[in-house]
């Protein structure tokens, strides 16, 4: 394994224009993320923690290159995603995939799940052995290959999240971004999905950015932690250090909240 980071985020800033309050004034600007930076090596997990509106999901969208930052860079295996042409970017996308929060919104209700899982393959022109690879991905996430013919509404939330994970790993990516991937699930199902993610990480050597508002969940699976509030980075470092001796009062509050229900 090389020392070069899999993912390097430098000084990432994103501002949104809000609706105009008055005809004569300029529209106010919300700074959703300001100067965020970290690096992640293959096989590592970075936890990103913060409350609603802290910029966690903005960070995820910028890493996935769904939108452009106002400043800063996202380097994936050394290439700046936001400096590439859209063709070059599409070619790299198979290397980094995402698992979404809402398992009911992340699958097209009108397509069989086999179709949805195979979508990244078709997008990259890999038309061979699609059925076999879909079956393989379904087995990797603990579902049955025959499930490929069913529609999303035939599954529970936890099963749907497994399907979403199968879609994310079918191209054998190097990086997985999980945005609140277990927050919408029951506690017992949460544990199953977390275990699945960790097993897959071991098997595939995935680097993972795990975004959550729940510090307890982050503490259980992450190597390093980044704490965000109002778009600013309050704290970052090895999970053990941040959680044992938090420097910022906000982190202490989050820790207390996490302790309260675990």
């Amino acid at each position: 394994m090389t020392d070069a980071p899999l993912l390097e985020v430098r000084n990432l800033t994103r501002r949104y224009k809000l609706p105009r309050q008055s005809l004569l004034r300029r529209s106010p600007v919300l700074t959703a993320l300001e100067g965020a930076g970290f690096s992640l090596r293959a096989g590592e997990t970075l936890g990103v923690v913060g409350e609603s509106g802290s910029g966690k999901s903005t960070l995820a969208r910028l890493i996935m290159a769904f939108e452009r930052p106002d400043a800063g860079e996202v380097l994936f295996n050394g290439s700046d995603l936001h400096a590439l042409s859209s063709e070059e970017l599409r070619g790299l996308r198979r290397g980094f995939q995402m698992v979404f929060q809402d398992p009911f919104g992340s699958l097209n209700p009108r397509r069989r799940i086999g179709w949805s899982i195979a979508e990244p393959l078709r997008a990259n022109g890999e038309e061979t052995q699609v059925t076999y690879r879909v079956a393989e991905a379904l087995e990797q996430v603990g579902l049955h290959p025959a499930d490929a013919g069913k529609y999303p509404h035939e599954f529970s939330g936890g099963q749907r999240q497994r399907i979403a994970i199968a879609r994310a790993i079918i191209t054998k990516p190097a990086l997985l971004v999980a945005d609140e991937a277990v927050s919408a699930l029951d506690v017992s199902v949460q544990a199953q999905i977390l275990n699945l993610l960790m097993d897959l990480q071991d098997d595939l050597g995935l680097g993972m950015v795990f975004i959550s508002h729940d510090l307890a969940v982050v503490a259980s699976i992450c190597d390093r932690v980044l704490v965000l509030q109002h778009g600013k980075t309050l704290e970052s470092g090895p999970a053990a250090d941040v959680l044992r001796a938090p420097e910022h009062p906000y982190t202490k509050t989050l820790l207390k909240a996490a302790g309260a229900h675990t």
Binding site: M64, F66, R90, G91, R93, R94, F96, Q97, M98, F100, Q101, D102, G105, S106, L107, N108, P109, R110, R111, S116, E119, P120, R122, A123, N124, A164, R167, A168, T171
Partner: protein
Amino acid sequence: MRRLPANFLLGAVLVSIVVGIAALSLIWTPHDPQTMSISTKFAPPSATHWLGTDQLGRDVVAQLMAAARNSMTVALVAVLLGGSIGVALGLLASALGGWVEDGVMRLADLGFAFPALLFAIMLAAVFGPSLTNAVLAISFINIPIFARVTRASANQIWTRDYVAAARAAGRGRFAISRDHILPNIAAAIIVQATIEFAVAILAEAALSYLGLGAQPPASSWGRMLSEAQTLMYLAPQLAIYPGLCIVTAVLGFGLLGDGLRDITDPRLVRAR
């Protein structure tokens, strides 16, 4: 199984009757709708002429049936043509965003601001009155309507996570429009198409009434109305029959469209 809304059922019945009669006219009418017989003009309803004959002795039932077929054909072609162009523009606007979206929507506003009848009269003035020009005019007014509905619905679908997942997979905007957006907004488009079908029937009748649509000897409810107008005191029934046909067809498609909307949009049903 939930009970179907009353407006949907009534609309479905009326539409079935009108479409059924139009289809029947393809293979059978009681008489030839164009055959004149001056000796039997203004005949009262009888076993041979169920609703009587008009001022030229033509069978009214046969004319109404042939007119139903013409009316359905005009509405179908106009909605399909205008609808396809409008849906394509709406999808394009939604997929590309930015100045393309702004441009398409401002063009749609312009189309809305332009009265359909005026456009038809303009076409008739330039190319001469004909059924084809009437179809083109009705298609044209449908384009901005469908473009707006499509763009509004498509913009909602673009924010869904499964679209984000498709982007993450590396799929392009047009592939996403085809595989994810269109199937999920199809219901809204079908509802709109049904309602626009009613509007198109009315527009065809209006244009033919003004002499800008179906030309003689082709049958048309609108032209039957305008011909009957001069005979209002002599034979009022000649104006009533085509009028009733127009009402039935427009009401039927309008109710069917409303009913479909109620079925496909559960929020509206609960609000009632």
